[in-house]
Subunit: 191 residues, 2 copies
DNA sequence: CAGCGTACTGCACGATCGGTCAGGACCGGC
DNA sequence: GCCGGTCCTGACCGATCGTGCAGTACGCTG
C-alpha cells in the first residue's frame, strides 16, 4: 500500500480531526476552534501549522487527491483489459482509506467549488467516471458512476449508524466490491 | 400529486432559500443572514416567521418527511406485490420533488442527529430500507438501499455539475428508475 | 378615527468566527 | 551561556453568528 507516513511534519492528528470536522459539518460549519480542541491544540497552533483554514482543507484533502491521481493513471494503463474487477477492488480499498476525504469531496464539493483541491478532485472523479463504466452516452455513464461513488461514500460514513449491529469493514468491503461491480461495470436488467 | 400549496403562511420562498442553503453548506454553515438575503428579507423577518434557526430547519424539512411517511405507508400496504416497480417510480418522483430536503437528510444527517425532524426522517429511511430490497440479511439490504438512495440524492443535486450539457429531468428520472430498479429490487450479478 | 393584528425592520447583546501578533518553553549547536 | 529555530500559547482584532426587543408601516374591523 505504498508509502504510508507521508512527510506531513507531525501534524497528522490535526489533519485527521480537520477531516472529521469537514466531513461532518462541512467546511463553513467546521470551526478552527473545534478542530484544534479535537486535536488537543489551541486555535493558534492550527494557524501556525497551516496559513489559513483553506490551506488546512487543502492539506487535509491532498493525500486523497494524490492517490486518486495515481489510481486514474493506472486505470488508463490497463485500459481495455477485462481486469477491471481487480481495479474495482483497488478502488474500493481507496475509498476505505480516504473515506472522510471522499465524503468531503462528494457531499460538500458543491459548496467548495473554486477551491483548488476540490476542483482538482472533481476533474479526477469526472475523468474516472468517463473512463470506467459500461457503454452508453457519457452522461449516462457519469450518472451511473455518480450514483455508485456517492452511494459508496455514504455507506462508508453511515454504515454503522444504519446497521443494527456493527458491520465489520471486511464485510462492507466485499459487499461494496460486489455492488459496484454489478453497478458500474454494467449488468443489464432483464427486460 | 396531492395537495400542492400546504398551509405555510406565505413563507414559502423563505423555506426554499433555507433549504438551498442547508443543502449547500449544511445547517451550521448556513447563516440566517444569507438565507434572509436570498429570500429578499431581513434576518429579523426570518426569526419572526420561525422561532429559531432550528425551527426553520424543521419547517423546511417537514413536507419531505410527511410525504415520506405517506410513501412508507403505501409500501406497507402493497407489501408482497410485484408492483414494486411502480412504487419505485413513485419513489423517484418523490426524490425529485424533495431533492434538496433529501440532500440535507442524507448528506448532513450525521451532524444533525438529535434534531427531531432528522431523527424522524432517519427512522423512516431505515424502515424503507428494511421493507424494500432483495432478500438477504437486513444489514446487506440496508447497505444496498443506502447506496442507491444516497447515490440518487447526489445525482439529483450534482447532475448538472457533472454532465457536459444540461441533462433534462425526464432523462435523469428514467435512468434513475432503471438504475434503482436493477439495484434495489435485486438483479444478481452473473457468476 | 381609533384600535388591533400582521409583516417586517434596525439596533443591540454576547458569543464565536478566522486571523494577527508578541512572547514563552524547549531544543540542538556554537 | 547565548542563539536560532520549532512548537505552541493567550490576548486581541474586526466581522459575523443567533437571538431579543422596540418600533413602524399597513390593512382590517369597529
Amino acid at each position: 500500500m505504498q508509502d504510508r507516513t507521508r512527510d506531513l511534519g507531525g501534524s497528522a492528528p490535526l489533519l485527521e480531526s480537520a477531516l472529521r470536522q469537514f466531513a461532518a459539518v462541512g467546511f463553513e460549519g467546521a470551526s478552527l476552534q473545534r478542530i484544534a480542541a479535537d486535536a488537543g491544540l489551541s486555535k493558534s497552533s492550527v494557524l501556525y501549522h497551516f496559513a489559513s483554514k483553506e490551506a488546512l482543507l487543502d492539506a487535509a484533502l491532498r493525500p486523497a487527491v494524490e492517490d486518486l491521481t495515481e489510481l486514474v493513471e493506472d486505470l488508463v494503463a490497463l485500459s481495455d483489459d477485462p481486469s477491471r474487477h481487480v481495479f474495482l477492488a483497488r478502488f474500493v480499498d481507496y475509498l476505505f482509506e480516504h473515506r472522510l476525504a471522499i465524503a468531503v469531496i462528494i457531499n460538500h464539493g458543491q459548496a467548495l467549488a473554486g477551491h483548488a483541491v476540490i476542483d482538482e478532485a472533481d476533474a479526477l472523479v469526472r475523468d474516472l467516471a468517463f473512463r470506467i463504466g459500461p457503454p452508453g452516452g457519457k452522461d449516462r455513464r457519469s450518472l451511473r458512476f455518480g450514483v455508485a461513488l456517492s452511494g459508496a461514500a455514504f455507506v462508508l460514513i453511515a454504515a454503522d449508524r444504519w446497521a443494527t449491529d456493527h458491520v465489520p469493514d471486511e464485510e462492507v468491503r466485499a459487499e461494496l466490491v460486489d455492488v459496484l461491480g454489478e453497478f458500474v461495470l454494467g449488468v443489464q436488467q432483464p427486460a
